[in-house]
Amino acid sequence: MVEQVAQMVVHGEAWTIKDLFVLPNEYVYWSIQIVMYPYMTGLVAGAFVLSSLYHVFNVERLKEIARYALVFSFALLPVAMMPLMLHLMQPLRGIHVLMTPHFTSAISAFGIVFMTYACIVAAEIWFVYRKFIVESVHRLNNKQDRSGLESLLLPIYKVISLGAMDISKEALDSDHKAVKFLAALGIPVACFLHGYAGFIFGSVKANALWMTPLMPVIFICSAVVSGIALCIVSYYIFMEIRKWAAKRGKNWLLPDALAQGGTAIPVEQLRSIQEHEVKMTSKYLLIFMTAAITLEILDMIFRGYTAVKSWDALRMVIYEHDFMKIFVYQYGLGNFLPFLLLLVPGLSTRRAVIASILVLFGVFMMRWNVVIGGQAFSLTFAGFMEYHLPIIPHDIETFKEGLGGMLSVIFAPFIIFYFLNMIFPAFMSDDEAH
């Protein structure tokens, strides 16, 4: 018993290095999964805002990517929950947050806001795809020799049609109205979803780095930035795959083509759509980036200018311990370089995608610097803590809170999207004004 106890490692000890005077119970408790949580939530919110630009503000030029962004944000939704579940010490009790919400806690609002938001996105997708669903039911019903996939899809379409089989012009017009309403309602809810993720941190008065009312606003702006950037990058990749597959007739890579009965789009047309959408979207990326960077820098200047007691410790973390992570990775590589890349005239698709990848990296580093940086100093301001991401896991905890857990969260939306795309083809071209 004594030997067993002697081996006991407390939560956080495996990845925390303490320096100087740190309180005995202080560890980096919120590690990579809590970095991933606002990152993924931000991507969901951002992707939705991008899709709403078309649905609400009628930005016609974003028509193709808007539908894709909507389906992709739905695929991202369950993944926003995943880091929290992986992080909980008692994951089976996660449902308690919904069953017994404690309303003074910012996290308890998560369940409610998240569920509201999920319902809005699901409803919007349903209205956008209702015509397609009904048509698919008819098409697959009439087909004599259905393939295995088609036999599987038919009952799915029958169920999700919810029995609403009317596709008359009036019915479709009211669908259109509903989409517009839901997209408009979705924008404030998406902003709230992410704004309050910032509030979770901003309201922790014990933490000098997090404690700022600007936190929710900073989070909203960077959320939109990261969501748009991810849509650009993933849209580009999927279109590349589609181009590649269309050339060689490899339909297994085109689940949407399968679902639609193998409608082939010429490669040239794909290329032109891809180029147009990527370039147009990157213009909007630039607008939101300006707001995000301004706010972040404003926050830093404000802290230095007011220089309250905690500034001594924060300055050490910002300018010494985390200098590389903040100024080189986050601001340099993640903000200013892509900003320049997008700003220089003659933007090519490839340049826009490279800039977007850098933006994604920059937003990830921003989350890292907030979450990990906020725990880099002791509550006494007399010591520091360093977080070492567990690469090779030696137990379930170091897997969940290490590289393995991080990669699981990163790849999960793509896997979900692959299957979701079979049911709701995100790249479907449709002349209806949805």
Partner: protein, 257 residues
């Protein structure tokens, strides 16, 4: 029904219902309890008396089943060495579980350091524990209400309900919370609630050979702790967070954070 009738009936119903509802008096269990015993637990630490022996830390770990070897603890003792040039060096090796047996100060990654005696202006020990705040940040942030405050002012954790999110650990300005290595839920000092609610003393206060720690009822004017809080110059830790701590310190130095 005509619209006019509908509006009229609604108005009559609302007026009638509000009158009858106003006759009801809603009593919360907390109010009911507060009407009974005049009890609010407070803790007094006399830093002049603490010698850093660590008996309190040992006693606490044993009493409350906190694994002895695990590097977390419900209470700990800090050593402060203030140099003549104003620099402060602190340490608390293993929470001072084994006491301070060497003059070397444990600076974690930076190794051990020694402050030459001729450079020392003052040196002292400060025991720390959960402050059982009157407005606890941990209770405010707990998403499921697993951390709660009893009517007599003690902040407790319901181990069967805690989801282990760590928000309370982040929200506590005093760093007293941690994850229990066996139970995998948030844990912290309970003022030995299982003992004091039966008229006993806390394990740490009982183990202290020099009476540096005492627990008492702040609402009883004859209680030694209440008297000390009333009549002596006492301080609390990090008042600026507005949590209103109930652990009072005699001889609290400004360097203690």
């Amino acid at each position: 029904m005509k619209r006019r009738d509908f509006l009229k009936n609604t108005a009559v119903f609302v007026a009638g219902a509000s009158v009858s509802v106003s006759a009801l008096d809603f009593i919360t269990p907390k109010e009911l309890f507060a009407a009974n015993p005049q009890l609010k637990w407070g803790f007094l630490v006399d830093t002049h008396k603490c010698v850093g022996c660590g008996f309190c830390v040992k006693a606490c770990k044993t009493e409350n089943d906190i694994p002895f070897e695990a590097n977390v603890t419900r209470t700990w003792v800090e050593r402060y060495v203030i140099k003549k040039d104003g620099d402060v060096v602190m340490d608390s090796p293993k929470g001072a579980r084994d006491g301070f047996t060497t003059k070397l100060l444990d600076q974690n990654h930076s190794g051990m350091t020694l402050v030459p005696e001729n450079e020392i202006a003052q040196a002292f020990f400060v025991p720390k524990l959960c402050n059982h705040c009157t407005t606890p940040a941990c209770v405010q942030v707990c998403p499921v209400g697993a951390t709660y405050q009893t009517a007599d002012g003690v902040v407790l954790v319901d181990r069967s309900w805690c989801i282990g999110c760590g928000y309370c650990i982040m929200g506590c300005p005093y760093g007293v919370r941690f994850f229990h290595p066996v139970e995998h839920v948030a844990d912290k000092c309970t003022f030995c609630y299982h003992r004091i609610s039966k008229g006993g003393d806390t394990a740490c206060a009982q183990a202290c050979p020099f009476d540096a720690r005492q627990i008492g009822n702040l609402k009883d004017p004859n209680d030694p702790v209440a008297q000390a809080v009333l009549n002596q110059r006492v301080g609390v830790l990090r008042d600026e967070y507005g949590t209103k701590p109930n652990v009072y310190y005699i001889g609290l130095n400004k360097e203690v954070r």
